[in-house]
Amino acid sequence: MDRLGVAYLGARKQIDLATEQALVAQCRRQDVQAFGKIVDAYQGRVLGFVRRMLRSEEEALDVTQEVFIKAFQSVARFDGRSSLRTWLFRIAHNLCVDRARKAERTPDQHSLDAASEADDAIEFSDSRWSPESLVMNDELSEVVEQALGTMSDKLRTVLLLHDREDMAYEEIAAAVDVPVGTVKSRLFLARAHMQRVVGGYLEMDGRVQ
């Protein structure tokens, strides 16, 4: 952990709770430098989430800026009931939804239809898949991004927040404003879709028997 209380867990930055609270208190006094530390810690993660939700690099950069500006302007209203990370992802999610609406794009434009999602709902539990056994290369990364891109927005949101951001079901429910049970249902369907698309690729590629 560095002197600013920013820890680098794996390759990802994370602010400890005490530092987060101190930074938020400074930000309430419109301290741009303190807010800069929050941006440092979360910019990559928020941009990654927004880019995968919007799938336009340029738009994602704009929206990510908007997320942080909005957060800075409304930090006085941040009551600390949720974590700063949950709050930032809630803002990001809401802005992505707004963008989709403004672009007159239905939220599920890129989604599979309901019948297809039902077909996806297969057993996805498979002990062959562990982070250690998988080597992510550009091609696999591309397949994963494609799998995300062919998923409905609501499934993709939950999958990214849970499996990518390690957020708890309750945190996701607060960020997306749906019940915890709905979060679990969506996560199940999203994983099943990922299993079908990427699992199929891995088996064809001969990475698994």
Partner: protein, 145 residues
């Protein structure tokens, strides 16, 4: 997982306790998705992007401070105007300097006059042996002519 439960998941319907348990068990088991997601790299915005964000934040901070100053400033002006209005409407104590002078002057002049006249009388009586009431000594009398 049975088809009834799958349909409930797709339709986002409420699950029974047994179904919820089955779902929890399925979610807790190892999944390809989780393994893959942890391998994806984070996006890193450019320095130009960050610089642009910093400028926007400074602008937002300045705008907020300015609006605060404006709020305070206008508040002070309104308060001052209200205070002036109240002062203007209050009944003022009537200050009449002339009357005070008029009242005090006669007193003063009476004392002065009486003192001066008493002094003059005493002076004349003692110096010339003539009382002022007997007339002036400068004027020649008909007897002396």
């Amino acid at each position: 997982m049975n088809s009834k439960l799958k349909k409930k998941l797709v339709d986002e319907q409420a699950l029974s306790a047994a179904e919820a348990l089955e779902l929890d068990q399925a979610l807790d088991s190892p999944s390809l998705s989780r393994a893959l997601m942890s391998k994806l790299t984070d996006d890193e915005p450019s320095l130009a992007w960050r610089s642009s964000l910093n400028q926007s934040l400074i602008k937002a901070s300045g705008a907020k401070a300015a609006s605060k100053v404006l709020k305070w400033g206008s508040g002070i002006v309104v308060t001052a105007a209200a205070a002036l209005g109240i002062i203007a409407l209050l009944p003022r104590p009537v200050v009449e300097p002339n009357r005070v002078l008029v009242k005090s002057q006669p007193v003063m002049s009476n004392i002065e006059e009486s003192l001066v006249s008493a002094h003059k009388e005493a002076d004349l009586e003692s110096g010339l042996g003539v009382s002022l009431s007997q007339g002036s000594t400068d004027a020649p009398s008909s007897d002396s002519l």
